[in-house]
Amino acid sequence: MFRRPTIGRFRIRGGIHPNDCKALSAAQPIENLPLPPLLHIPLQQHIGAAAEAIVKRGQSVRKGELLARDQGAISAPVHAPTSGRIVGIGSYPAHHVSGLSVRTVTLQPDGYDEWHDACEGVDDPFALTPDEIATRVAAAGIVGMGGATFPAAVKLNLRKRYTLQQLVINGAECEPYLTCDDRLMRERAAAVRDGVLLIAQALGVSAITIAIENNKPEALQAMREAITTTPSIQVVGLPTRYPMGSEKHLVQMLTGYETPARGLTADIGVVVHNVATAAAVYDALRHGRPLISRLVTVSGGAIAQPRNLHVPIGTPISALITYCGGYRSPPAQLISGGPMMGQPVATLQVPVIKGSNGVLALTADELPQRREMPCIRCASCVTACPCGLLPLTMVAHIRAGNLDSAVTYGLPDCISCGSCAYVCPSHIPLVHYFNYAKGELAARQRAQHKQGETKRLAAARRVRIAAIQQAKREQMARRKAATAERSA
């Protein structure tokens, strides 16, 4: 079924060419951010159930020690980014646009940065069985580091349910401004390669493709040099187009096969992992290091010195901005992630989490014009949509309150990439409408689920009350019979 990928042979539709602005930070080598005075480590940094804290206030922990263990099938544990003392476990602003709080462990670093004894690597990780690799990756708390934060071990176990032919490593980094994956491939190409091979071993696939957009020639070169001795890996340069890094589009570009609607790429035998995830897998297996730090690009026109930083998880983003020389000019907007799909940051106090790949401080010139005008039915959004949807029609239905009609027009297939809103000449916040509609639909689904549960509980209660009354009647009858016997 599978053909080897051929560059330019397969095409994807739509997409846009935003100014990539990567030159701001692409030349900056990775720097280690000094430890901040306090680290705030949220227990929910991934998709799925929040982790449960196993440490207590006042307890001393060492670097890499387990702070909270995973709960349920889709979850990830959380580890201490450095040694120090737990000064609190409570609510702290989440790394989320809503500004809501989330359960967070606050750690005061002691400055010694001592590793925990349990953090021991394996000399030859390639001798591990697929199950052992998956278990170790799960224990290291590794999640998808491209931003989706889906627990990586769950994806490594996909081989149990699907027949897989191909592993695709996503180094596209199609979001403007972000350069941390680029720097990672340039500086740690061997670690990425070994991580990729370990993931392939866990999945049991032999065909591996590392896909990198052509706007990162140094990263392409570094990866090509790193894989000269490993024939199973192929490095492919991709045309620069947003959203090339969306996994379904990447797979279609490489293999020519389209992922079924609402399906997984595993349905067509392909698994996609991010380059940063591959490096994290290598660190976890070879050196026994759990996921306690990550690379973050700090960039944007308002940042004095844009940089690529190696940041301990839990560092407040204010520390990153201070390290980058503060602001050159007052920022109009602070964004976590890329400018296309990233989310505004509520406060500067929010911590860096496992999925944060960028902190952008954008000036007013870099932001889209805000004044919204009526739709002129130009269908630019239809041309730009990489999923083949009709954004203008879906928005018309959402505005009229017909969410169900929007679903028939393919709302669940929308990946919220923002291409439609980017090209809209009327500056209609199309993607905002889609995010609202998706949230509203999810809320309705939850309400439906709750209604079903309520009915079940109400029915169970009726049965219970009937049983109690029946028991009372029987007891009464017995008592009456006993009284009658005594008097007789």
Binding site: S98, P429, A443, R444, K450, A460, R461
Partner: protein, 176 residues
């Protein structure tokens, strides 16, 4: 003439018998529309509509005695689906989306009288005689049955706070 009278009479008898037989054979217990409406209703038997439970409320809607907008906890979505089921047009201007609330028991005030515990239609309150009660928020439907019976007024109806899992972008404000 007699032949015609006999034929018509015979036809009448045969058809009447057929109809009677069919009525017996295909008899429907209860109003099917009522059952369909009842499956749409929340089913918490909370009584906020003024009827003693969801079954009588469904009967009232099916017979046209109650409007499709009767159910406060169902809100706009329920009114829409009921209107679609009955094929009526509705004015949703008066229907407000209910703010989800759940009961919360202030423990220092609770005397463990079990009144709320007995009234809760979904068994969302846990506790026993002379034991402090607590609300199992996931099972609470916010029907306020417990709120009205508590002798020490220790129950508060708290709006359900959004969490990272339930928060979503609000609807964008529109241009004229």
């Amino acid at each position: 003439m007699w032949v015609a009278i006999l034929i018509i009479t015979a036809l009448g008898i045969v058809m009447g018998w057929l109809l009677g037989f069919a009525a017996h054979l295909f008899a429907v217990e209860g109003n099917p529309l009522q059952e369909e409406i009842e499956t749409l209703l929340p089913g918490s038997q909370c009584g906020q509509c003024g009827y003693p439970g969801c079954t009588p409320a469904a009967a009232a809607v099916a017979s046209g005695q109650a409007p499709v907008t009767l159910c406060p906890p169902g809100g706009r979505a329920l009114a829409e689906s009921l209107a679609q089921k009955l094929g009526v047009t509705i004015d949703l201007a008066g229907v407000t989306e209910p703010i989800a609330r759940v009961a919360y028991i202030h423990e220092p005030l609770c005397v463990g009288c079990t009144k709320c515990f007995k009234r809760c239609p979904t068994d969302a309150i846990i506790g026993g005689p002379k034991q402090i009660h607590a609300v199992f928020a996931d099972a609470c439907t916010g029907c306020e049955n417990c709120f009205t019976v508590c002798p020490t007024e220790c129950i508060e109806m708290r709006p359900l706070q959004a969490t990272l899992q339930t928060w979503y972008w609000p609807r964008p404000s529109e241009v004229a």
